[in-house]
């Protein structure tokens, strides 16, 4: 059941690859614009890198949030999911996981390559990738709440950014902080542990909150 929803969403993503690719290319282009505009000053680029990559990842994940539930809402499949005997929270968790596999994982895989443009040392690239690996699922999970709340509203796309971006701030601070700490020669374990804690908390609460919002949105 849980596997069915993931399988379904991945199948849909495969049939509509343009949606996946736009998110990835958005991320690549935004991250690549900075070295081009700021100029080739290595020390400045190195300081900027973690922040720029993380902000670009937030925006890229935001870009695809609108599609998380709205297509299912329009063709009536969301209605059927609400009437499923299985728990709606579990379904939402499946959808958020599929969203992460489709939008989050490509970003994580791409990040080390993009980091090279910023002259990041190998160890910092590793920390950046690990932090993204832990942090991007949080973005999908929190994003699910925003997407569910703004379902069917006019101008929902802008509203979802206003709702969700402030909630992304802690992940951004600690995600970028981990890489900065590593480059400053300080331990980065604390930062990663905190992102892991965010992940656990959002795994428990976000599906439940998004499921309740969906019930309200569809009434």
């Amino acid at each position: 059941m849980f596997m069915w929803i993931i399988k379904r969403d991945l199948l849909l993503a495969m049939r509509r690859q343009s949606d996946v690719l736009t998110t990835l290319f958005f991320f690549i282009i935004v991250v690549s614009l900075f070295p081009l505009s700021v100029g080739p000053e290595m020390s400045m680029l190195r300081t900027m890198a973690p922040g720029v990559v993380w902000v670009a990842a937030l925006l890229a994940s935001m870009l695809s949030l609108g599609r998380m539930f709205s297509n299912d809402y329009l063709d009536g499949t969301l209605e059927q999911m609400l009437l499923s005997p299985q728990s709606l929270s579990l379904l939402v968790l499946g959808k958020a996981l599929a969203h992460w596999l489709v939008t989050g994982v490509p970003l994580v895989l791409m990040a080390p390559v993009l980091g090279i443009q910023y002259d990041l040392p190998a160890e910092a690239l590793f920390v950046l990738t690990t932090a993204l690996l832990l942090g991007t699922p949080v973005l999908s999970l929190i994003g699910a709440i925003g997407a569910a709340l703004t379902l069917g509203l006019r101008g929902g796309g802008v509203l979802v950014s206003l709702l969700v971006l402030p909630l992304y701030i802690p992940v951004l601070i600690f995600g970028a902080g981990a890489v900065e700490a590593n480059m400053a020669g300080v331990g980065f374990d604390a930062h990663l542990s905190l992102i892991g804690a965010f992940l656990l908390v959002s795994l428990v609460f976000a599906p439940w909150a998004a499921a309740s919002s969906l019930r309200v949105s569809l009434e």
Binding site: M1, W4, R8, L12, L74, G76, Q80, L83, S84, L218
Partner: protein, 204 residues
């Protein structure tokens, strides 16, 4: 048994209906009638638990459907105006996935058989977006063939169907009613269904 006790529906500041009472036994058919905008779809959405009545209560075997939740959904199939099919998935994928989400997994053979019965044989591998309106409707209704639920709530199931398909659905519904199933439906088309008991609910 499905029971409605003094149900009311309010949309904005307009009261669509109030004091609706009914009781549907096993093998019973309830046809909801009324002009456009009289609240037929609103009533059906209440009955399947998608929205809450402004007043009154809906009981399934004597227990409120609010407190039953998953158990009620396992006994009920709702097919609404929206087909509930994904355009990018093939006909057979749609049927298998929607059945799995509704709690009864089926294999390819069962799905093909149901689609064949609905007159979609040979079209299993086509994406739904290339089908006509009537064919999409058939894909949605094919779910009834593979469902094991007792209560079917159907909102205008005959829209866009041709004469042959209407006949198929008629047979399907009568068979379901004969096996002690229950059907709640709205339709503007004339359809003769023999049932153990038939209730007509008129919304003004």
């Amino acid at each position: 048994m499905l029971q409605g006790i003094s149900l009311a529906c309010v949309r904005g500041d307009r009261e669509l209906f109030k004091d609706i009472n009914f009781s549907l036994e096993a093998g019973g058919l309830m046809q909801v009638r009324g002009p456009n905008g009289s609240g037929k779809t609103s009533l059906l959405r209440m009955l399947c638990g998608l929205s809450n009545p402004a007043a009154g209560e809906i009981l399934w075997s004597g227990t409120s459907i609010r407190s039953l939740n998953g158990d009620y959904f396992a006994a009920m199939t709702y097919i609404g105006h929206l087909s509930g099919t994904k355009d990018d998935l093939t006909v057979i994928e749609n049927l298998r996935i929607s059945s799995a989400l509704a709690g009864s997994e089926i294999n390819d053979a069962q799905a093909s058989e149901a689609l064949g019965y609905m007159g979609l044989g040979g079209r299993e591998a086509l994406p739904v977006k290339v089908l006509s309106q009537g064919q999409r409707r058939r894909v949605a209704l094919a779910r009834l063939l593979v469902s094991k639920t007792a209560l079917w709530i159907l909102d205008e199931p005959l829209v866009a169907l041709d004469v042959m398909a209407v006949k198929l659905i008629q047979e399907l519904l009568e068979q379901h009613l004969k096996q002690d199933g229950m059907v709640v439906m709205t339709t503007h088309q004339e359809i003769d269904l023999t049932a153990a008991s038939t209730t007509q609910l008129h919304l003004a």
